[in-house]
């Protein structure tokens, strides 16, 4: 270990391509938010450049790893990098759950006069300090703001409960895949990975269907604090499941190529942890957003 040299990466153009991709994405996003016609296509272009960068850069890293260029010091760097990424993901969702709980436990009761009993205004006709906050101001006529009204809540025991079962089952199949990898059972590993990916894809399909129903029933980003937090949390979770499915598919491809063995399968472990985390986040969403 001590006689191994610190790995110095070679020169590469991927970081500048990533910078161009991220800049393009945010320029497109900012303009799309201002209803500029070219905002949306520029945003898509940004995503495409980032996807190109990710596949190219990760492809280079995989080639170097398979080519035996990495030593134990590089392995340790990867593990620390993944750990910091995990920390950032935990804080990302902690912030959104924090926003939900703050609105629900503190700000909505405050607006109803709870805790201080001093400030209890009639904010708008029909305002009721309760969660979910299903009464909105409607057409307020200021700055063109219009709130969605008379929306229905998503039925907890419909698609959300089914999706919870699906995602938890995918956690079980992934655990069986992990076991098969450690036991050297390649065919079982591939079968369990396929099952995990299929469950993730079905979850996403149901989530899109549920969004269609919710939107049709008037639940939108403009449905006050409930609609905002609902779409923020479930939307970012759905995005993470999408990324997770892509990563699991890449891992399945690498398994098929014979990139992993009993001792060396860090990439599988990193993606497995990510999927388990996304699973736990959904369990939290099911309990705190859809149910209680």
């Amino acid at each position: 270990m001590s006689n191994e040299k610190y790995y110095v990466p070679h020169g590469t153009y991927w970081p500048i391509i990533g910078s161009i991709g991220v800049s393009t994405l945010f320029v497109g996003f900012a303009n799309q938010m201002h209803d500029v016609s070219w905002g949306w296509p520029v945003m898509v272009l940004g995503f495409a450049i980032i996807a190109f960068m990710l596949f190219g850069w990760i492809g280079t890293v995989v080639s170097e790893s398979v080519g035996g260029l990495y030593n134990s010091q590089v392995d340790k760097s990867f593990r620390w990098g993944m750990s910091w990424f995990i920390f950032s993901e935990v804080m990302f969702f902690a912030a959104f759950f924090g926003a939900l709980l703050y609105a629900r436990v503190l700000s909505v009761p405050w607006l109803g006069g709870e805790y201080n009993n001093i400030y209890s205004p009639e904010l708008w006709e029909g305002f009721k300090s309760a969660w979910p906050l299903i009464t909105t101001p409607g057409e307020v006529g200021q700055n063109g703001v219009t709130f969605s009204t008379n929306f229905k809540l998503v039925d907890t025991w419909g698609l959300p409960a089914l999706n919870t079962g699906l995602l938890l089952t995918s956690g079980v199949t992934l655990t069986y895949a992990h076991h098969a990898l450690r036991a050297g059972h390649r065919n079982a590993l591939m079968a369990w990975m396929l099952a995990t990916i299929a469950l993730g894809v079905v979850f996403l399909g149901f989530q899109i269907t549920e969004y269609g129903h919710a939107y049709h029933d008037g639940l939108k980003l403009t449905s006050g604090i409930y609609g905002s937090t609902f779409y923020l949390l479930t939307g970012f979770h759905g995005f993470h499941v999408t990324i997770g499915v892509i990563m699991l598919t890449v891992i399945l491809y690498r398994i098929q190529k014979g990139h992993f063995n009993l001792e060396n399968h860090f990439a599988f472990e990193g993606v497995a942890w990510y999927w388990h985390f996304v699973d736990v986040v959904w369990l939290g969403l099911f309990i705190f957003v859809y149910w209680i």
Partner: protein, 72 residues
């Protein structure tokens, strides 16, 4: 009831964190630790989901009446 559910959620996060420590450690020992922690994580999660379904079915838990989150 609510403390029991919170305790299970805390345990799930504990095992997720233990898995990260295993991931960071690496090698055979770290890999074992990670696998066992993730296995406990999924066992507890499935248990919690089934328990919540059961508690809802027999009326132990009513939506928006959980005492965890005081709302008016």
């Amino acid at each position: 009831m609510d403390y029991f559910v919170i305790a299970i959620i805390v345990l799930i996060f504990f095992f997720l964190a233990a898995a990260v420590i295993g991931l960071l450690k690496g090698g055979r020992e770290g890999s074992d630790k990670m696998f066992k922690a993730l296995r406990m994580r999924i066992i507890l999660s499935v248990f919690l989901f089934i328990f919540l379904l059961f508690a809802n079915y027999i009326g132990w838990i009513e939506p928006n009446n959980f005492n965890l989150l005081p709302t008016q």
